[in-house]
Subunit: 148 residues, 2 copies
DNA sequence: CCTTACATTTAGAATTATTCCAAATGTTGA
DNA sequence: TCAACATTTGGAATAATTCTAAATGTAAGG
């Protein structure tokens, strides 16, 4: 892979970070690679454990910092299930998430929000019991308030 | 029994709870009324503060217990936004939620999951920047494992 | 180069939301 | 009434995340 890229600042990851005024550091690079390496929606804790394998000195605070940076600059998504730890996902395509209430697994559902409720095909054997849709943005009052 | 539901066990709330083997206690009744009283998606903490006004002895643990009971028996929904405190909603119709990133407000969007992405009308002035869809249920592997 | 300014990392403390616990109380049914 | 069980309570414990302050790294200007 791009382990051969000698100069961090040449990578596209660097460019994304730069758009938000963030630098590509070895830690951020490494956390990103960990995330892309195993796409199983790990928690910050799990990312931390994996990251330590290749970078033993990395700290938990840095992992949170890195994940946050990646999410903010659009290189990763943060998936929240119930009240449990956030999970992270480097798949930036427009997709949904399926949470298995039995094994706790999270699966990407490559359909995009629009497909829900229109008989989208889930992988074989998947059964949906609940659908939660949350929209984010700015509400009417806040938009009005802004126009002062 | 008289017209005004003086007897707890006569209420439909009681019936819902009973379906899950739960009793309707004065605390659960009160928490439910608090929830229905102001439909602004309060956190457990906010429910606690409101509940104390009419029932000063109620404890936080009980509020969590009651909210949990209501959610489990289908009398309330739990809304999770980011990593912040869960919020609770007694509107059981099939609806989405809109989270305003500026004021933190949560709004019910009465459309149902199917409408997302099909140009549903939001209230005037609302602007959506993200849509998160999460499906819950049982995945294929777990369904297979079950058939042993 | 050297300095200054600022970004990032680090370890650990602090915070927040939630869950757990054990004792007291309430309820139901034999 | 008694035994069995459910619920409530206050406080302790836990889990996830954020904060803090010091050390380190980096870029730019002189």
């Amino acid at each position: 892979m791009n382990g051969s890229s000698s100069n961090l600042s040449d990578s596209p990851v660097s460019a994304r970070l730069a758009m938000r005024g963030l630098r590509l550091t070895p830690q951020r690079q490494h956390v990103y690679e960990v995330l892309v390496g195993v796409r199983d929606h790990p928690t910050a804790e799990e990312v931390f454990l994996r990251a330590k394998q290749g970078m033993p000195e990395i700290s938990m605070a840095t992992v949170y910092n890195c994940l946050d940076a990646l999410v903010r600059c659009g290189l990763a998504k943060q998936v929240n299930v119930d009240r449990s730890a956030s999970r992270f996902c480097p798949n930036m395509s427009d997709h949904d998430h399926f949470y298995c209430e039995r094994c706790g697994g999270i699966y990407d559902i490559e359909n995009g929000a629009g497909a829900v409720g229109r008989g989208i095909e889930l992988p074989r054997g998947f059964e949906v019991t609940h659908v939660d849709v949350s929209l984010r943005g700015v509400c009417g009052s806040c938009n009005d308030a802004e126009k002062v």
